[in-house]
Amino acid sequence: MQKVAVYRTEHFNAAHRLHNPAFDDATNDKLFGKCNNPHFHGHNYELIVKLIGEPEKDTGYVYDLKKLSDLIRKEVLHRFDHKNLNLDVPEFKELNPTAENIAITIYRILRPLIEDHLDLQVRLYETERNFVEYPA
C-alpha cells in the first residue's frame, strides 16, 4: 500500500448571513453577532479538496487534478461563486451556511462523483484565520 494524498485548491466569493429562523432577533444577535446582519456580508472562500488513494499503475496519478478541478468548478464553483449562499443555493434554504455546513454540503456534492476507493476530505477557509475540515 502506497497511499498518497493529492489536493486541489479552488476559490469562490459569496455573500451569506448566519441566522436561525427558529430564534428571535435578540437570540440570533447573541448567537451570531455581526454575522447575523440582515443585509448579509461576504467572504473570499478558499476550498481545498483532498483525495487519498494509491497511484494508478498506468498513469501514476491518484486522480487527474485537472479532472478534479473541472469537477469542482462544474459542481461547486458554478453554483456558489458570486452568489448569495442563503438565497441562491438551494442546499442552504433551511440550513445555516456556516463554514461547517458549507464544507459538509460540498463533501456531499462531490462524494458520489468520485470513485469509492478514494478517500475525500474538504477543507474550507472562510477567512485566512478561520477554516474547517470535513470529515474530521
Partner: protein
C-alpha cells in the same frame, strides 16, 4: 521620511450595479458581480502613512494608534456589512473597489495626527485583485 504601513481587514457583501442601466446591461458590464442577491469578499486594507521618526519614541506613528484609528473610522463601519445598503458614505455610489478606496481615504484622512501624512491606501478585494489610491 519613513513610510509606515498597517494592514487591517473586513468582510462585506456588495454588488456592482448601475441603477440607471437595465438588468441586461448591468450583467453585460459587471458579469457575475451584478448578481442581484449580492456576493462578498474578505477585503484587506493596507494604510501607509509617512513622517519623520520621533526623536524620543523612534516611531513615525504608534502603529497601534494607527490601527485604532483605522478600526474606528473604517473597519467598524464596513465589517460584516452590505456595502450597497448599510454604508451612508457609499450611498448612491457604485460599490467598486476603486470607489470604495477613495471613500475610505475621505473617512480616515481627517482623523490622522497633524504631523502625519496619509501616503497611500491599498485595498485588496481578492488575493489577486487590488487597487491603490494616493489621494490625487
Amino acid at each position: 521620511m519613513v513610510y509606515l504601513t498597517r494592514l487591517e481587514h473586513f468582510n462585506a457583501a456588495h454588488k456592482l450595479y448601475n441603477p440607471a442601466w437595465s438588468k441586461e446591461r448591468n450583467e453585460a458590464v459587471f458579469g457575475d458581480c451584478a448578481n442581484e442577491n449580492w456576493h462578498g469578499h474578505n477585503f484587506n486594507l493596507y494604510v501607509t502613512v509617512k513622517g519623520t521618526p520621533d526623536q524620543d519614541s523612534g516611531f513615525v506613528m504608534d502603529a497601534k494608534h494607527l490601527s485604532r484609528l483605522i478600526k474606528e473610522h473604517v473597519i467598524e463601519k464596513l465589517d460584516h456589512k452590505n456595502l450597497n445598503l448599510d454604508i451612508d458614505f457609499l450611498s448612491g455610489k457604485i460599490c467598486s473597489t476603486e470607489n470604495l478606496v477613495v471613500e475610505i481615504w475621505k473617512q480616515l484622512q481627517p482623523h490622522l495626527p497633524v504631523n502625519i501624512t496619509l501616503h497611500s491606501l491599498k485595498l485588496y478585494e481578492t488575493p489577486r485583485i487590488y487597487v491603490e489610491y494616493f489621494g490625487e
